[in-house]
């Protein structure tokens, strides 16, 4: 099912997922180069999050360092552990010395500075939990960051600041990023390549510019047609 480690490119082939006898991700192969910015878009239930989870599991099994911001912070945070404990655990997982990650800058940009790290997740609001999980994903230099609807629980100002922080963090370095979202408008501004999913398959993969100008698959056409609510005159 998998092969990799030929070079720094992350590779999967024939990755599939079935649940209760039903195939929810059809055999999927893809390559992610260092520094790639990929948007995985599609409607609800198209298999985006399933592919994201499968990629995270597979790449980690290959020994790659992958950080993951799941759609819900519940999936990332242990309700019985303090936020400080979860931060230390993430540092250890990425091979960082305790306290070496730039928590202050990350928290400040994500607007959660001064929050009580002794509390457990349920002592924080959902939006704050989401930002905490994003900050953990940005603390090191993994091979790949997978972000599943990272801004869905955030207000627009914090969401935009988060995406800008992400852009700065990735810079022109080698960290690859996969942004999973139903929002083509968001993805279009942040990624160089788009993959469109429908019914558990990648039905189109193209550069962001190409796909926005000439979508081929019906799912891509629908997403492009519903990309934004209104256009503002310049």
């Amino acid at each position: 099912m998998r092969q990799s480690l030929l070079n720094d490119t992350l590779t999967v082939s024939g990755l599939s997922v079935a649940r209760s006898g039903r195939t929810i991700l059809h055999p999927t192969s893809l390559e992610i180069s260092p520094g790639d910015r990929i948007g995985l878009v599609g409607s609800s239930g198209s298999g985006k999050s399933t592919l994201g989870h499968a990629l995270v599991d597979d790449f980690r099994a290959q020994g790659k360092r992958v950080t993951h911001v799941p759609q819900s912070p519940d999936e990332a945070l242990d309700p019985l552990r303090s936020m400080a404990f979860q931060w230390r655990e993430a540092e250890q997982a990425l091979g960082l010395q305790p306290g070496s990650a730039d928590q202050k800058t990350l928290f400040s940009t994500l607007n959660i500075e001064g929050s009580d790290l002794r509390r457990r997740p349920w002592g924080w609001s959902r939006g704050m939990q989401q930002r905490f999980v994003i900050s953990m994903a940005l603390m090191g230099t993994p091979d790949l960051i997978v972000l599943d609807e990272p801004t869905s629980a955030l207000d627009p100002v914090v969401a935009a600041a988060t995406m800008d922080l992400l852009d700065r963090h990735l810079g022109s370095g080698n960290i690859a990023m996969m942004l999973i979202t139903h929002d083509l408008g968001l993805a279009a501004r942040r990624v160089s390549r788009l993959m469109v999913m429908e019914d558990g398959r990648i039905v189109e993969c193209a550069s962001t510019k190409e796909l926005l100008q000439r979508p081929q698959a019906s799912a891509s056409k629908a997403l492009v047609a519903h990309r934004s609510w209104v256009e503002l005159p310049c």
């Binding site: 609800s44 609001s125 100002v157 935009a160 929002d183 083509l184 968001l186 609510w229 256009e231 310049c234």
Partner: protein
């Protein structure tokens, strides 16, 4: 007409809403936008009488808002329903409460517009996706043709295509039935596209009241400009070339 006059809400020493005033005519849509914790959902709770303002008055046509049979679309789709009841039973509660009847045609039309297969209503809330639960929440709010509908992040769990279809259905129904709509949302693109007026809340105060065009093109306050720019940065508002 919904009239909110000088309303303040306090929680202990904390001021959640401060001196909020606006009115909303039947058939019109008012969007309330602003940062998390600005007091948007608190405003809805105060309008519906779920909490008592420390000052000011809220009325619908001079009487209490509850008396007009307002509807609410809640922010958390699944927790908006009784988990022990089928969705059909929950959807019909406003109808039962008003002692009225709903034609099968209306139910079918709403289900069709919301892209909800009719069999979904036989399930319980935990047996449908969050997006489906959110659309059932909208169905329940609109089923009994209320004069006032309060939407708290009504499209947050829907994908981009379904968001647009659902927003259009709500707008079409509003045009036909004339209900007043107050929409609390983080989605500034939705607010600009469908609201007649936008209220920008910050730290419990009204920062600006603007038409969608003004908000999108020439917002007056610094905070409104920050919000507008964030919406553009997120692709929710698109600058045409």
């Amino acid at each position: 007409m919904l009239k909110v006059a000088n309303v303040s809400v306090k929680h202990g020493a904390a001021v959640i809403l401060s001196n909020i005033s606006f009115s909303l005519q039947p058939g019109k849509t008012l969007a309330v936008v602003g940062e998390s914790g600005a007091g948007k959902s608190t405003l809805i709770a105060a309008i519906l009488g779920f909490l008592h303002p420390s000052g000011g008055k809220i009325a619908w046509a001079g009487a209490s808002v509850r008396s007009c049979g307002p509807a609410l679309v809640m922010q958390e789709p699944r927790s908006a329903f009784n988990p022990l009841l089928s969705l059909r039973r929950s959807v019909m509660e406003p109808v039962i409460a008003q002692n009225s009847e709903i034609s099968k045609r209306r139910l079918n039309r709403l289900c069709e517009g919301l892209e909800l297969p009719a069999e979904i209503l036989n399930r319980r809330p935990q047996e449908v996706s969050i997006g489906q639960a959110q659309r059932v929440g909208i169905l329940r709010a609109l089923i009994a043709a209320p004069p006032l509908v309060l939407f708290d992040e009504p499209l947050s769990a829907l994908d981009a295509v379904t968001q647009k279809h659902t927003a259009k259905l709500i707008a079409d129904l509003q045009q036909e039935e004339g209900f007043a709509a107050l929409i609390v949302t983080h989605d500034l693109g939705y607010a600009v596209a469908y609201a007649d007026e936008i209220i920008v809340l910050k730290s419990g105060r009204i920062e600006e009241v603007a038409t969608p065009t003004t908000f999108a093109q020439t917002p007056k306050s610094d905070y409104s400009r920050t919000l507008r720019d964030a919406a553009i940065a997120l692709g929710a508002l698109e600058a045409s070339s």
